[in-house]
Symmetry: C2
Subunit: 605 residues, 2 copies
């Protein structure tokens, strides 16, 4: 049974009705959240995007037929109600925006009946995520997901409004573009008109936005889908959304300035958070040295201390051995954790090993000032005291040390620091701590490829001060690259781009590309660069992660309407799926024999 809404017109959303409307007749429409029969009255909580509104059905107002109909209402029925707004007859509900009023129904139409949903439509569902994703259209009815998607829409609107006011143009770049072998794995799209040829979905509009700068568009942005066919981690999706920005005739400070204003507006107007400007800046070198991470979470301390000098002459071979190999010994002070049980410390050691540590040395300072340590026997009392002093240890503290190559030490302690903070509940989601990390290394050496690779991308500008190092010590060259970090998560990153041919050529040389290679890969950009290029720079935010943090969620799936799961499939639509043979024929492609055979076998089993 589905009645028509003909002749009715909604006058208010649920929570748009207020005490100011008392005495008025309104027409509201929405979903039945719940129905209760109370003596001779039937109460229904009506739900829409805005919230809940109580409807009262009284046979005296609505007649016998209407009252009977109301008695048959069940959760998730879609109804239209005409009625009079009254002050609530029963107890006022302080938890409800409309808790002081109710609608006395004079007309009811059941626009759509509903089966019982496979899980209740309620805040903070305990239903397994897989089931919720299969029925995403029901999951999306839950108020927390609705708040998240409304917030996401607001963030996008504010961003566009701000950037438009700042003279940025939103320019769409192609989705069907060219596969370039550098970077992550591309999603490919077979061409029907050119069989054997493929488009690639863009990993980012990087080359196109640089072209737009060459074309004089001056300030570009786009909120745009990007694609990477990589194995998914918790916070990754095969398709994700970038706020992509590029500016001409600017340097690092200009990019940072406009983005700080953007962040300030976004956080203030969406979640009421004041972002203090200027946002703190830290070089990559300092971030690694103090926090063991290029995206340090500054909501808590527990900084790394380099104690290499302190322990260099001690008798503990793990320490001195690491130093002899050119490594370092660094520690963190888990403030007040001196009484941590051995079992928990062992778990931390195992955690550290997961990041490549051979072990983890610890020293607990008992309340009486004595030490309990895995390496006490290798050091003199005095050496231990000096170490404790260097670590600013006091009774009740727990000191943890890693000794290895710098890379490993940073990775181990950086992650250990976060793990301890998590276990101590130091990561307050209500605090928003921003940080610019600057002066990233331009290159990193890939042992796998036996050459330097670009840390950001091959068009990133080296710092002028370091240009000479490109020939002598490329690994030491710093880049005009910057990341914006929020609570230990990189929410955006970018760089000033190379706009001078001679530097770009030098860069390709360092990366081991022949001129031919470079043209094969990036020909149209290099050609464009022959005809007058402005200095330009840009930045891109990961919108999913940004909104996730604003919404205080742990997964980006909670801020995406129709997300995919870890195997890149959609549980609701069953995409990807088998297509008709005819479709593949038209594209001139076939499924490999091995795949067909494997599928046949798995069907047989």
């Amino acid at each position: 049974m589905a009645e028509s809404m003909r002749g009715l017109s909604r006058t208010h959303r649920c929570t748009e009705v207020s005490k100011a409307n008392i005495g008025e007749t309104v027409t509201v429409m929405g979903w039945v959240q719940k129905r209760r029969n109370l003596g001779s009255l039937i109460f229904v909580d009506l739900r829409d995007r805005s919230g809940l509104l109580q409807i009262v059905f009284d046979e005296n107002d609505i007649g016998t037929d209407g009252f009977d109909k109301a008695g048959k209402l069940r959760s998730e029925f879609v109804i239209a109600v005409v009625g009079k707004v009254e002050a609530r007859s029963g107890a006022v509900n302080e938890n409800m925006a409309t808790g002081g009023i109710e609608i006395r129904a004079t007309e009811l139409r059941v626009l759509s009946e509903a089966e019982t949903p496979p899980f209740p439509i309620e805040e903070e569902s305990n239903t397994k995520e897989d089931l919720r994703l299969k029925y995403r259209y029901l999951d999306l009815r839950r108020p927390d997901l609705q708040r998240n998607l409304i917030m996401r829409s607001n963030v996008a609107t504010l961003t566009r409004q701000f950037l438009a006011e700042e003279g940025f143009l939103e320019i769409e770049t192609p989705m069907l573009t060219k596969s370039t072998p550098e970077g992550a794995r591309d999603y490919l799209v077979p061409s029907r008109v050119h069989p054997g040829n493929f488009y690639a979905l863009p990993q980012s509009p990087q080359l196109f936005k640089q072209l737009l700068m060459c074309s004089g568009y001056d300030r570009y942005f786009q909120i745009v889908k990007c694609f990477r066919d990589e194995d998914l981690r918790a916070d990754r999706q095969p398709e994700f959304t970038q706020i992509d920005i590029e500016l001409s005739f600017v340097d690092v400070d200009d990019v940072i300035a406009v983005n700080e204003r953007l962040l300030q507006k976004m956080f203030k107007e969406t979640i009421g958070i004041d972002v203090q400007l200027p946002i703190r800046r830290m070089t990559y070198a300092e971030a690694m040295d103090r926090f063991g991470s290029d995206k340090p979470d500054l909501r808590f301390g527990m900084e790394l201390k380099n104690v290499s000098d302190v322990v260099k002459d001690c008798g503990f071979a793990v320490f001195t051995g690491a130093l002899e190999k050119g490594g370092s010994v660094r520690g963190i002070n888990a403030d007040g954790q001196g009484a941590m049980p051995r079992k928990k410390i062992d778990a931390l050691v195992e955690f550290a090993k997961g990041f490549g540590a051979k072990g983890l040395a610890y020293l607990a300072i008992n309340e009486d000032g004595t030490y309990k340590s895995s390496f006490a026997k290798f050091m003199t009392e005095e050496q231990l005291d000096t170490l404790v002093t260097a670590m600013q240890g006091k009774p009740g503290d727990l000191l943890l040390f890693a000794a290895d190559e710098d890379d490993i030490v940073f990775d181990v302690l950086g992650n250990l620091r976060l793990e301890i903070a998590r276990s101590l509940d130091l990561l307050d989601k209500n605090v928003y701590n921003f940080l610019w990390v600057t002066e990233f290394p331009l290159l990193e050496y890939s042992k796998e490829q036996g050459r330097y690779v670009a840390k950001h991308h091959p068009f990133t500008m080296p710092m002028e001060e370091d240009l000479d190092l490109l020939d002598t010590e490329p690994g030491k060259v710093r880049a005009k690259a910057y990341d914006i970090v929020l609570n230990g998560t990189e929410i955006g990153g970018g760089s000033v781009r190379i706009f001078q041919n001679h530097i770009q050529e030098k860069m390709f040389e360092v990366l081991g590309f022949s001129k031919e290679d470079a043209y094969d890969r990036f020909g149209f950009l290099l050609n464009a660069f022959k005809y007058g290029v402005p200095p330009h720079a840009g930045l891109a935010y990961g919108l999913d992660r940004l909104v996730m943090l604003m919404a205080k969620e742990d997964s980006i799936r909670d801020v995406i309407a129709f997300p995919k799961v870890k195997d890149a499939s959609c549980l609701m639509t069953d995409a990807p799926n088998i297509v008709e043979e005819k479709q593949l024929e038209e594209l001139g492609i076939e499924i490999s024999e091995e795949v067909v055979e494997a599928a046949a076998e798995s069907t047989e089993e």
Copy 2:
């Protein structure tokens, strides 16, 4: 040679400098449009996104080195100039926004040199489009393309602002989704994680936006890329952009009302055009009858007249034969074209044949009131007079008639009407004539498939008045579907959706789908519909075409930054292209042997 802009900061874009700045020192940056040496002075027109600004180099101001540098400037060099704003010393240029001022340069830096571009960077280029598309980054420097893309950005911004104010949420729907066999051809994306399975790029977010209504989002919009792998016509692209809108708890009038306000705002604030509301509405039946088109261009008259009754007893077998077969005879009056030379009339006959006409009957009314006609000999004087009167013919007019099945008559005369208007230059691009076409047929009979197919899509709501006809005469059922037409181009279309299971089931029955078929194709939507569906309706605009009309362009390629050509390739990036064997292996697909062989042969030749 590329100098750094270090230490300089742009203070103004070119046309942001005005007489108000006279006496100030400014820093401007941009491209050299042209250089002229005039005695002891060098003049440079500097160009950026905003326009042109004249720079004067005088050795007395800038020194010998600077003056020498200025003397070497060539078109498209990128420069930074510091200088003082002065009233123009030479003749004021009224055609230039900054024509009354000039900058006397005190510092010049050449940020980037430029080779001579393959075509000049100038308004209304005569360069062949293929060359311009190969060097799109240079083509995009031309002021007309820049204006178009700036307008496009403004249209998108205004649309989003308006819809946000009206309570619409922008919600992103997936790009990697499921292939459904209904509709146009899908672009497919092979899955690496699930070899043998494919995603499809969306032809539109139709199903997702209906799901969002089921989920209670109430008002949704998105400006979003859609994909159709069809053979391209002049105004088609493999990827195109839709302004996609859906609303809950509404009927036709609500959708039309909000969209009229949107169009009014968009046209007023972008190109200063007042759209008079309400926009005229016309049923599909009337549009066909009067204009032979479901998207009539109302900028001119020349309406179709049905003269079947007038000629039914005449002696002209072409007319009477068509009527006997159930067809009609209709004509248009090409007002004032009575003296059209026979050669031009013959060309119109050929044109008509291209739309399926067997011929075209004509009657020219000479200035003396006599007739010249292809069919005069088959009619009496009186019959001819009656026909001319019915066509409101007067001396100097040309009457053109088609006699055939209605479909063909409409198509022939509808197109003929446009062709004549084009040749007479009646299509004024400065006039914007809007029209809603409503009450489209729900179904059309596909001879090819031997069944009815949905004219809009299978979820379109029949008009309540016609529901009973679904069983008896499905071809006569009108739908709650509407198109918005501008100057004879459909710029958008949509419908009220079916939200009642029993109507949806009936619809599938009429389309000849078994229940199983229907679930195979649209299972997740049908499942969603079990849990409470609000009445909903929507509309989608083709943004490319909309902006094309606003910008008075003839091709959507002129309002797309990086368009593809007719064979769906990109002349700039050479996409699609050959990818590495390894990429295909990872996806578990192969290029068909025939394709490989064909490629090998074409290489050999």
